[in-house]
């Protein structure tokens, strides 16, 4: 397609099929991010995608590109990838292997209205900070009354997604069903205050210890009854 438009192969951005795979509707924008990571002021970028229709943008890179600062983007995400240990683990994560279910309760349904209502906590990973006593606090269903000073409705939004954190305590659970046993659950304390309990992902169970530095990462927990359940997990800092 690029050749048909008269482009030299050196002008075409790597579609990342060998490193990431086909991410569907996200792919064009991911390629744009990758292109901008290598771009210099004055470069011109053609962003074109098609599906049930097609669109195209011409983008000119300005000297603002140098002011973006440190970002993980595409390149650093790829550099920080962790290889799945074996093929069976991959099959389990992708739900391609049928296993005898654990003798534990079935996953209860998700409430669409509650997923929408609590989207700020679930997707953007915001908590809140009490403006009276200054305590940052994270709950999926945020409190109206401060857990420390009991002030009512005196909160400002507080972003946890970019905070560094440390493992305060943890367990390796063998009872609950899992794609990647044991389930490593951690209690983490965020730098600047606030605590939460999360799954620890992309980890070697043997390496988990108290005080281990972790960072937060946005993941799909599972798909159930027609709903994708997205949330945040902790993982060892990369």
């Amino acid at each position: 397609m690029a050749a048909g438009l008269g482009f030299d192969p050196s002008q075409v951005q790597d579609p990342m099929f060998m490193t990431v795979g086909n991410t569907g509707s996200a792919l064009a924008l991911m390629m744009l991010v990758a292109a901008l990571e290598e771009a210099n002021a004055g470069d011109r970028v053609l962003l074109a995608s098609y599906g049930n229709g097609a669109d195209a943008f011409e983008i000119e890179v300005t000297d603002g590109i140098g002011k973006l600062g440190e970002r993980r983007g595409i390149r650093k995400h790829l550099e920080s990838k962790r290889m799945v240990k074996n093929y069976e683990t991959y099959l389990r994560w992708r739900d391609l292997l049928t296993l005898e279910p654990a003798r534990r309760p079935e996953r209860p349904p998700m409430s669409i209205s509650e997923l929408w209502r609590e989207r700020r906590q679930l997707l953007a990973f915001y908590g809140q900070k009490c403006t009276n006593c200054g305590t940052p606090q994270y709950e999926v269903r945020p409190g109206r009354v401060c857990v420390v000073c009991q002030a009512k409705d005196q909160f400002e939004p507080y972003r946890f997604a970019d905070k560094k954190a440390k493992v305060f305590t943890f367990t390796q659970d063998m009872l609950q069903s899992s794609n990647d046993p044991p389930n490593t659950a951690v209690v983490v304390d965020f730098e600047g205050g606030g605590r939460g309990m999360f799954d620890l992902t992309d980890r070697d169970p043997e390496e988990v210890e108290v005080e281990m530095p972790v960072e937060m990462t946005f993941r799909k927990l599972y798909f159930n009854r027609g709903v994708h359940n997205y949330f945040w997990k902790a993982r060892p800092v990369r």
């Binding site: 654990a102 003798r103 534990r104 309760p105 996953r107 209860p108 349904p109 998700m110 409430s111 509650e114 997923l115 609590e118 679930l122 305590t135 606090q137 994270y138 709950e139 999926v140 269903r141 409190g143 857990v147 420390v148 305060f168 305590t169 943890f170 367990t171 390796q172 659970d173 063998m174 009872l175 609950q176 069903s177 899992s178 044991p182 389930n183 659950a185 951690v186 209690v187 304390d189 965020f190 205050g193 606030g194 605590r195 939460g196 309990m197 999360f198 799954d199 108290v210 927990l221 359940n229 949330f231």
Partner: protein, 392 residues
Amino acid sequence: MGESIKDKVAIIGMGCTQFGELWEKNVTDLMVEAAYEAYDDAGVDPKDIEAAWVGTFYEYSGMAGMAAGVPLRLQYKPVTRVENMCCTGSDALRNASYAVAARVYDVVLAIGAEKIKDQGLSGLQGASGAGVHVFPSVAPPGIFAMLATRYFARYGLSPEEGKTMMAKISVKSHHNGSLNPKAHLRRRVTVEQVINAPIVAWPLGVFDCCGVSDGSAAAVVVRAEDAHKYRKDPVYIKALQICIGHGQGWTRSDWDYTHIDETVHAGEKAYAEAGIKNPREEISMAEVHDCFSITEALIMEDLQFSPRGKVKEDIDSGFFELSGGLPVQPDGGLKSFGHPVGASGLRMMYEMYKQLQGKAGERQIKDPKLGLVHNLGGPPTSPAISCLIAGL
């Protein structure tokens, strides 16, 4: 502030079923057996019961007042269902006691029951229903295991030292349970067996976790001044306290995960209500909520039985064994007697009641004066804790 409950209310009869995997019994069998043992023990007619408080955690064990009204055929009587997770049974007794203390009724029943094993699950079930489900994929043992991880880290215990400390707790409880015909798990175990058992949630192995059981327990409660009309050895309530978490455990980073605030508060208030100055010396025996071995260890410190960080020394010296200075779990505890959620608080009181009356058979503690019941509901991050004290 209201008045203390001390010596205003007495238990005049108690009943408790066999706990276990009771495939041939339904929840009606369990409640009838517990209630009628309590009626017989109290010398009351079922028709003498004026009101009842029934504890069930799971809706399949019974919902609303009819949870007890139907199986016990309490015809046209007021019955209230109580639910406070694993703390349900002791809270049913607390509510029943307040009703007679308020002189609204003269003779009431507190009963708890659970029929869990039909569900075919490993361990207990948490919340169901549509909602947001993003909590980590851990079952209750995992949540409590985090107490152990932190306890080991705080006090510098190696995994081997920590697991040995916890193992001795379970060995003691299995020993006591082996002497109890109504207990679910009656086999004695060794420290080596406990340490080497399969892991459920690191560092907790199978023998660090309590049994999950079917069962029921019940108490008949009257005002203290009426108690001697029924029997010569009633057991008097000395304190009834409950303390509920407010979410601080999962939001505040200043909680240390090596104690449980609610137990500390409930204990302090119960000691004040009962007029106890030195719990380690004055409490004769205790049944506490040993859902997991590490939970019992923390409770010993939180109730001031052991100094902070020093429970290991008391465990090593046998202080909590049947022959020790302060026997804990004389009936085997949740560990060995089993844990039918809504019944457990009343089962604990059943053992204190029998011990105080000198009717605990092979497990009898010499001349006990005061028995303490500690019952925990919910996660350690924000639990319901009741602390009841009974005595002669």
